[in-house]
């Protein structure tokens, strides 16, 4: 049986990735905007949080700032790209994401480049410090719950329905008078903001961040999570985070050097992703369908 420390660590990472997956679900699952900038936004949140925390600002401020900053950068990324078609959008977001990663790698004076930012102080709220893993798990799980509830309200709301309409047929939605661009932008910003929140959690948990946690490969990993869980299905996303993160962490236990493990992860998840694309591109668990009950139903049945 695994030591509790390991289990708690894995659960915390699962929570963080679940938040990332839910954020991406709003953008990709619901509105079908194929963004590869997700890992970069994760990084924006992490770095914002880390830099503020290192400068002495309190946790509640830096996590809000991280969320806001990620949302803002999402807005800036979305402005030029949201009018582009599917695969061009993907590549454009990939490009912008990579530019952000390049900045974090090369802007030595602020981000210390590949050496990363160590010594990030632990999170503390109202005088209570989350300095041990079990306490942090409590914080992460609580945040996950909040974000999950917010995302569910968003997706199963008129706003969410418009997004799904855009996914199915954007021009039809515009013909109905909805400004598709701004709906897409809102989805993009909110999803991005959640990714920033996850970034802040990540920074405070590990106490150290560097550009290698926010690469294109991580973006792909998050994609594969929501594809496994079913595009648009948040519970599925949480379950899939569980499965994939557990798999990924268990690969670390083979005790191989870090870059070998990373390479094996890439190959393993690359193959899984290709298999999923060929056999189940919409995801393994479909979204909850709407069942509209009309007022007359119960009365009709009673009269039989």
């Amino acid at each position: 049986m695994l030591p509790t420390g390991v289990i708690i660590h894995v659960l915390i990472v699962i929570c963080i990735y679940a938040i990332l997956a839910i954020g991406l679900n709003i953008i990709m699952g619901c509105a079908a905007l194929f963004t590869i900038a997700n890992a970069a936004l994760f990084g924006v949140g992490a770095y914002t949080s880390a830099l503020l925390a290192l400068a002495g600002f309190p946790f509640w401020l830096d996590i809000l700032a991280a969320t806001f900053m990620a949302g803002l950068i999402s807005f800036l990324i979305g402005l030029p790209t949201l009018n582009l078609v599917g695969d061009y959008l993907a590549v454009a977001t990939m490009g912008l994401g990579e530019i952000l990663v390049a900045i974090s790698r090369n802007w030595d004076s602020v981000t210390r480049g590949p050496m990363g930012l160590p010594g990030i102080p632990p999170a503390s709220l109202f005088g209570f410090t989350f300095d041990s893993p079990p306490k942090f798990l409590g914080l992460s799980a609580a945040l996950l719950l909040v974000i999950y509830l917010v995302a569910e309200r968003l997706i199963y709301s008129p706003f969410g329905r418009v997004l799904k309409g855009i996914r199915e047929d954007e021009i039809a939605v515009q013909a109905l008078g909805k400004n598709a661009f701004w709906f897409k932008m809102w989805a993009f910003v909110v999803g991005g903001a959640f990714m920033g929140t996850a970034g802040s959690l990540y920074a405070h948990y590990l106490g150290f961040i560097d550009p290698s946690s926010f690469t294109l490969w991580i973006a792909f990993f998050i994609w594969s999570i929501i594809i496994l869980g079913g595009l648009g299905n948040n519970l599925g996303a949480i379950a899939a985070s569980f499965v994939f993160v557990a798999m990924r962490e268990s690969l670390r236990f083979l005790g191989l050097p870090a870059n070998v493990t990373a390479a094996i992860q890439q190959i393993f998840f690359g193959i899984i992703l290709i298999v999923m694309m060929i056999f189940a591109p919409r995801g393994l668990i479909p979204e909850r369908k709407y069942i509209t009950r009309y007022k007359g139903d119960a009365e009709d049945r009673q009269s039989d």
Partner: protein, 294 residues
């Protein structure tokens, strides 16, 4: 002035090598309408193949070059049959994800097999030749000459041979070509073979000019893609022109805007890509309306 000329020449040299990889993208896009993101990784594999054949197995460099192109051609066809063919009817985004996943798999596999350290071809270090104001190394001369040779051969193949006509027909209108009795699947395989062979050549040449590393695959992928979008996705001439421009932009940009810091070179590829997508997504030779929603 001397610096400018040197930068432009370096840019043209780099561009001519990327062009070979970009041509592979253009050809696949013209028939299948998706960007084969695995092409850069195939280029990287080609570079390693030439290196291994040449240094570990002692085969003559030229022969190793040709062999690596042949093996890569085969690899390209296999990739198509295994990963892309099942997704012919799927939305383009699925194939895109698959292609990217493949590039990760290839990059990681090569990293595991060959290690992450840079490798160099064991060419003797020779003084550069002087051509007027600029310096150019003998290896670079060979690279340009080889690129030109391949580009001209491809042009000849596509315009003067029967198979070239068939390829162009399928690229122009796959359904119509199929109705007229052409075996689209075989043509697609041939296109992948040619594209991958050229990619391998690109990778080898780039490796000869600088270093070989597993990370070079993705760099070639991005630069090749940016070059194609710049030139007009699907147009071979566009791919070549785009690559040359990209080569010059990255050299000029890195020198003037980034103080010569070569780490920013790839970023310039992204910047060019973003600018083109904003201003004229169809590219120089592309048709209007391909990249936007409306």
């Amino acid at each position: 002035m001397k610096v400018l000329a040197q930068l432009l020449v370096n840019g043209l040299i780099a561009g001519s090598m990327y062009a070979l990889a970009a041509i592979g993208y253009a050809m696949v896009y013209s028939i299948l309408k998706f960007a084969n993101f695995a092409n850069g990784s195939v280029a990287m594999v080609g570079a390693y193949l030439t290196f291994v054949l040449c240094t570990r197995l002692g085969i003559n460099v030229v022969l190793a070059f040709v062999l690596s192109m042949l093996i890569s051609a085969f690899l390209g066809v296999v990739i198509d049959k295994v990963a892309y063919k099942p997704l012919r009817q799927a939305p383009k985004i699925s194939v895109l994800i698959t292609a990217l996943a493949l590039s990760f798999i290839l990059d990681a596999s090569v990293l595991l097999i060959m290690g992450a350290e840079f490798k160099r071809f064991p060419f003797p270090i020779v003084k550069g030749l002087r051509l007027g104001m600029v310096f150019i190394t003998p290896v670079q001369v060979i690279c340009i000459a080889t690129s030109l040779f391949f580009m001209l051969s491809l042009h000849f193949l596509l315009t003067r041979t029967r198979i070239g006509k068939i390829i162009r027909a399928v690229a122009d209108n796959p359904e119509l070509a199929a109705i007229n009795g052409l075996n689209t699947d075989n043509v697609i395989s041939i296109v992948f073979a040619i594209g991958s062979a050229l990619a391998a050549a690109a990778g080898t040449l780039i490796g000869m000019d600088s270093v070989i590393s597993p990370a070079m695959g993705f760099v070639i992928t991005i630069k090749g893609f940016a070059a194609c979008v710049l030139g007009g996705m699907g147009s071979i001439n566009g791919a070549i022109l785009g690559s040359l421009i990209m080569g010059m932009v990255e050299n000029l940009g890195t020198w003037f805007l980034a103080g010569g810091d070569a780490r920013w070179k790839t970023t310039f590829a992204y910047i060019v890509l973003m600018l083109i997508l904003l201003i004229k997504p169809a590219g120089i030779f592309g048709r209007k309306g391909e990249a936007r929603v409306f």
